[in-house]
Structure formats: C-alpha cells, structure tokens
C-alpha cells in the first residue's frame, strides 16, 4: 500500500524527501542490528549493540571531544597545506609545457605509492608531533586537488581565450576573470574528494604512531577489547568527515550561485 503511495510521488518531492529516507533507513538498520545482537546474545567484545555504543559515546564524550579536536586540527592544517601547494602547482602545470611534461607525470605516478606505507617513514623522520600527521593528510588531499584544478583550468574554451584577447585582457585578467572562475566547480569537486581522503590520512597517521586523536582512541580501545568504545570513536569520525564534506558543499553553493546543481557530479 505504501509502495503504491510512493510510486505516485512526483520526482521533485522524492528528491526533497531524500534526507528523511536516508535517516529512516539508518534507523531501521540500527533497529535490526540491536535486535540481532539481543537475539543472538552476542558479547560486547564481538559486536556491541547500538545501545551500548550510544552509552559509550555518552560516557566518553569529554574524551572524544578532545581527541576529535586533535584530529580536526590535523585534517584542517593538512588540507590547507595541500591547497596552498596544489593550486599554484596546477596553475604552473597549466601554463608551462615544461612543468606539464616534467612534474605532472610524477604527481600522477606517485599516486601508486600507498600513503599507509610511507606513514611509518615520515613518523620516523619527523617524530610523533603534529608535522608528520599534517604531512600525511596533505599528501592524501593533494592529488585530487591538483588533478581537478588542472582539469578545471584547462576546461576554458578556445573562444573564451579569443574573447579575452579581443578585449585586450592582460595575462592576469585572463587568468582571474576568464580561466579561474570557470575552474571553480571542478576545484570544489576536488576539494570534496580531498576532504574525505584527508580524514583517512589523519587516522592512518594516528594508527601508526600517536598518543592522541581519534585514530589513537580506536587503537587503544581495540587493544583493550572495548569494541563499544571503538565503534563510538568511529561514529564520531564519520560524523567529522560528513560535517567537513558538508561545509565545503555549503561554501560551494554560496560561492557559486551560478552553478547549475545538476552539474554537481556529487563526488
């Protein structure tokens, strides 16, 4: 009966209702999980129930806030570093044949190196401080930013360049008035991808060597067989990632009111 109701919805209302649907699905899954754990009488160290996890979240809230802050700082700093390196580099790659031929292939090639594998090396080199973690975050976030900025800057049409020339635009004007704004949608798509990778980078760095951050909480909880605490940290972690992603999306919509939402690839 309800299925019949749903099929009569117009597409627009279906889209507007997408968020509640996702929420309902999540709640349904949690209920199934809770019931399954209770029926099977699974011990907490194998699979904690959602209720246990929520209790742990509450008990650990002070601790989790502190460690979330640590991870957030690593992510934000690494993200900024990646941005500050990626955008100028992408501009150089776009304007200089030499850079395109010499640096670009190396950047692409370097992506085959698993960052997890170099994390111990960086930690050995820089110690346990903030620097190696920020470096790993930056390395993770860097690639999608460079690639998407290059793609965006290159997407300007030949006619657009001709137009700027016929107006007598200086190279600076050509870049900032014609090329750069057109690259922004692609750059934002890159930043969204980068934000997800940045969080992964921070956690990996904290796994390998750290005495704080959400990655550290997960490691310690794991070694104490506190699955409930581990899950609590993971919940906070995914909330952190989601919020960062959402904030970038918000900035994008504010900064690019001209951008058709349908073109928003939804990365």
């Amino acid at each position: 009966m309800s299925a019949a109701d749903m099929s009569s919805f117009k597409p627009a209302s279906a889209i507007r209702l997408r968020v509640p649907y996702a929420l309902l699905t999540l709640i349904a899954l949690l209920i199934v999980w809770q019931v399954a754990v209770m029926v099977a009488r699974l011990p907490d160290y194998l699979l904690p129930s959602p209720a246990t996890i929520i209790t742990s979240l509450y008990d650990l809230s002070g601790l989790l806030v502190y460690h979330t802050w640590i991870t957030l700082v690593e992510v934000v700093l690494g993200f900024i570093v990646a941005f500050l390196v990626a955008v100028p580099l992408a501009t150089l790659i776009c304007y200089s044949k030499l850079f395109e031929r010499s640096v670009y292939p190396l950047i692409v090639g370097s992506q085959t190196i698993p960052k997890v594998a170099i994390a111990p090396l960086l930690l050995a080199a820089f110690g346990y401080g903030l620097v190696p973690k920020v470096t790993i975050v930056a390395l993770m976030a860097f690639f999608p930013m460079v690639i998407n900025t290059v793609v965006g800057l290159r997407s300007v049409s030949q006619e657009m360049i001709y137009l700027s020339q016929s107006m007598g635009a200086s190279p600076m004007q050509q870049f900032f008035r014609f090329r750069m704004p057109g690259a922004l949608p692609s750059m934002f798509a890159g930043m969204k991808m980068a934000s997800v990778l940045a969080v992964i980078g921070a956690i990996v760095a904290e796994f390998v060597g750290s005495n704080n951050g959400l990655g550290y909480v997960i490691t310690v909880a794991g070694s104490n067989f506190r699955m409930d605490q581990q899950f609590a940290a993971i919940v906070v972690l995914s909330a952190l990632g989601t919020v960062i992603f959402w904030i970038i999306g918000l900035i994008e919509r504010r900064a690019l009111p001209w951008h058709k939402p349908t073109q928003d690839g939804g990365h």
Binding site: S157, Y162, L163, Q165, S166, M167, G168, P181, W258, H259
Partner: protein, 267 residues
Amino acid sequence: MLNSTRSGNFISIEGVSKTFPTRKGNVLALSQIDLGIKPGEFVSIVGPSGCGKSTLLMILAGLIPSSGGVVHVNGRDITAPSADIGIVFQRDVLLEWRTALENIVLQAEIRKMDKKAATERAMQLLDMVGLKGFENAFPHELSGGMRQRVSICRALLHEPPLVVMDEPFGALDALTRDQLQLDLLKMWQKSGMTVVFITHSISEAVFLSDRVVVMSPRPGRIEEIIDIDLPRPRRLSMRETPKFAGYAHQVTSIFKTLGVLREGDDE
C-alpha cells in the same frame, strides 16, 4: 569618423591564405583571399561548411596568424589580436558565473571604461534586443536565443568600429532569428559600424547585407561578390519580392555550379 586606407576601404584583405599543419599533413583552409570592405558596410560571407569562413574571421580579428598575405583594418596592419573590434562567436561564449548584465559590462571592465556609463549603455542594449528584466539572470537561466542576444550586446558595448559575427543566429529558431536580424540592422544603422557577418543561410545573407561574398568549398576562395541593391531599412516583406528571390537564386546557382548544392531549395 573613420580612417580609410588608400583605396577608401576600411578593411583590406590582400592575398591571404592559411594552411593548418595537421598529423595528416598540411590542410589548405584559405587560398588567396582578396577583399575590400568600405567603412560602415554590412558584408556577409556565405559558403559551405569547412570552407574557412571562421578561419578568415579569426585572421581578420588578429586572433590567428595568416600563412600569407596582409590584412589592414582602419589603416593598421593586423598582426596581433585587435582590440578595436566586437566579436560574436558561433557559440555564445558567455561567462557562466556572471549575470547577463555583468557579462556585457565585462567588456568595459577589461577595457577600463567608465563603469556607470557602461552599465547604462548595457541596459539600453538589453532593452533593444528585448531582454529588459533579464539583466540579473545567469546564463543557465536563459534560452539559447537569449544567450546569443546577450553576447551580441557584449560585442557592441564599447561601440567598436568593426563587428564580426560568426553564424550568430545559426542555432536559433526562425522566429527569433528574424527578430534578431531586424534588431541587428537597427543597431548597425544607428552606429555606423562595419559588420562582417558569416552565415550558412543565403536568405539571411541577402536580407542583411550590402554585399554577399560567396566562397567555394575548401580550400576557401572567394567565388563571387554580389551587390545587394535593396532599399534600407530592410523589411521582412522584402524577402517575398522578385528582386530578393533573384539575389537568392544567384547565390544558389553559384553553389550548384560549384557542386555544393545538388538540386536543393532556397536556404
């Protein structure tokens, strides 16, 4: 008002040719083009697809170099992108991140013209092409015909002595096309500018022009130049006159002789 060259021509194209190097060897796009255009003249160029019309226009605007020959506009050698020009491209080439008005005023911003006066003129132009009330719309909110109208306004904002248009109405429906032809003629007559207009449509060329330049298939040569001796201002009803039909027939026969048309109808 305008300087003329020795021959009284505003534009003189002498022996211009163009070869494009491609992987399959050189492509001769234009061969030995000679054309003089008087100040304030409205000249159309018709020719089959790929015969080099756009190429000729880009050479005239100084946006691509010719392989031989010389181009003078207003007594000056064209060797670099010319700024004393307004260009309407085959595609509208609007900046998606600027509103209709901002797209037009961009012309003034880059040229460092008075912003207030430019805005006023832009509003007048928008009014003239029937886009009053759409000044704050973004390009993606406009139809194809409306977008092309904005790009025409942009090309005219700085009152250039020369306006070149590359099939500006090619993608429009017949009704919009008729209206824009009339609007364009009105603006041309008011301003005294010289217009070089490329089109696929024989009747459009005859309707608008003082002279119609007929080009051969690639390598593009000028096959014939036809004086259109119809009174100004042109009226839509003139298209039904025997004289108009005679001119259209003349162009059509040239294309038939060239083998471009194998028994077709007018247009």
